[in-house]
Symmetry: C2
Subunit: 165 residues, 2 copies
């Protein structure tokens, strides 16, 4: 019997999908914006992924469902999702903005391979505590922080130590 990979978590449940749509719809109503099929398609496509997507990557996925949806709409919808807390931007320091699910998501950080760009998430409550502590010390009202570690993943390290033989 095949063993499931340890991170082989189920895709988002129908219930969570519905809940996220509600959050978006409420946000739209609150700020006087309108409900459109494009926005729903984009939200659904976004929620079905578990990666850190760039706008371009999300646009590519969205086009599979509806080829007429343009990049601009994906761009604007992603901003909307960030506004209502469903998405958040992560900067991997390669000049491309990436977005990940934020709703119902445990606080986490990323370690990024500078060779192949792959990343692993890790959890470190200490970092959250540090934000509070240092903010207090310097009289800042902190709102967020970024913490990323860069290096070579195991795979790329092996490749590097074995040059073009």
């Amino acid at each position: 019997m095949l063993q499931k990979r340890i991170d082989d978590q189920p895709l988002i449940s129908r219930e969570m999908m519905r809940e996220a749509e509600l959050i978006l719809h409420n946000h739209l109503k609150r700020v006087g914006l309108k409900h459109t099929a494009q926005r729903d398609t984009i939200l659904r496509t976004f929620l079905e992924t578990r990666e850190h997507l760039s706008m371009d990557e999300l646009h590519r996925l969205v086009k599979r469902k509806d080829p007429r949806i343009g990049f601009t709409t994906v761009y604007r919808t992603l901003k909307l999702l960030a506004e209502c807390g469903l998405a958040s931007e992560v900067a991997f320091h390669d000049g491309i903005a990436r977005f990940e699910h934020q709703y119902n998501r445990r606080s986490h950080h990323h370690m990024v391979c500078t060779e192949c760009g792959s990343s692993v998430e890790f959890f470190s409550p200490e970092v959250d505590r540090l934000e509070q502590e240092i903010g207090r010390k310097h009289h800042y009202l902190t709102t967020r922080h970024t913490f990323q570690i860069y290096g070579l993943c195991e795979n790329c390290r092996k490749k590097a130590s074995r040059p073009t033989a």
Copy 2:
């Protein structure tokens, strides 16, 4: 008698300047590049600051010493300085790359005000330890990390709580 501000550290000493120049010159020789007056001027100008400079800001300062030095040369020299460990890039997440001294500098991080852009440096050995620890755990060969805290500084917080009266 005037009291010195607590962070009123002396400008870089002549000796450190010389040492930094040596590092650059050795690096140039090592990779087969040439020694030019422009590169020296840019290094000196950079070392005389204590701020986090964008390329544009450094170019402005450099032009005061030699108006004929172009932006492109500043850009390329900053990359060189980063290569040999004299400078390092800090990303404050506002779309502009900034550089700061790296040589002989204690490991530190930044807390940035999202309103006025000012920043304070803080020291947190715990973060350096975390880099090691998490890298080991996931079999990464870590090279560096970024840790920034964002929020409102005391000044901007006061302004914010007192709207256009």
